[in-house]
Symmetry: C2
Subunit: 114 residues, 2 copies
DNA sequence: GGGCGTTATCCTTATTTAAGGATAGCGATA
DNA sequence: TATCGCTATCCTTAAATAAGGATAACGCCC
């Protein structure tokens, strides 16, 4: 038995969460949405739709696109995107810690004896 | 913008969460799975499958069934079911409080100015 | 101007999950 | 023994979500 959870920002639907966070991290490392998606086992298709959708809900762009060019193009995380990404990074870690504590407090004993 | 989340116990899939909790509460009040389901807008079908599935995952019964009888039958929450229900009640409340605090801490400022 | 890899879309097909209808069986009680 | 409301299932349909193929456009660079 263990605790499971999902946490996300909501504004007319999911506006930011684990998926977008991982995607932004990958873009940051690779300079490419396509590569970032491949890296986390997500189809480019899905990744593209995801970023597009949540940008619409957030109301500001998370990445700056470069279509064409010597390397074919690429994407970089915007400053607001980076700010959100960094905040979420700390937030998710603190959430993880506190939820583990609460689980232990309320259910640890109940499910340890089995 | 606001925080959204789901928290549940997992053992070979969802083993307990908000849905089952509300269902147990309803059974406690009504003495009937059917009435409890109707009360929270869930079909009896779905409710029956839900209870059955999570009982399998938990490994112990949440309710005791009475098939037939003067009133047609009914269900009552078992003692272990009640224990789980009560623990979850407090757990979920503390989760709510702490997640609200963390959201405020990390995103309150970011999304207040808009 | 041709090549290349990326972004930008569209569209079709699976897969999963939700919804709901239908029906049998049960057993205390009147 | 007939009634009544509930549990126990099965089965079909609908809806939402995921998966993935296909293709156009773009623009630096050789």
């Amino acid at each position: 038995m263990k605790l499971a959870y999902k946490v996300w920002l909501n504004q007319n639907g999911k506006a930011f969460g684990e998926g977008p966070y991982q995607l932004l991290r990958g873009i940051d490392r690779n300079g490419s949405l396509r590569k970032a998606a491949a890296e986390i086992g997500m189809s480019y298709n899905q990744a593209w739709h995801l970023i597009r959708t949540i940008e619409g809900r957030l109301g500001f762009p998370l990445i700056q696109r470069q279509v064409g060019g010597s390397s074919g193009g690429g994407s970089v995380v915007t400053s607001r995107g980076r700010l959100l990404m960094e905040s979420y990074k700390v937030f998710r870690e603190e959430v993880r810690e506190v939820l583990e504590q609460l689980y232990e407090k309320h259910f640890g004993e109940m499910f340890r004896a089995e």
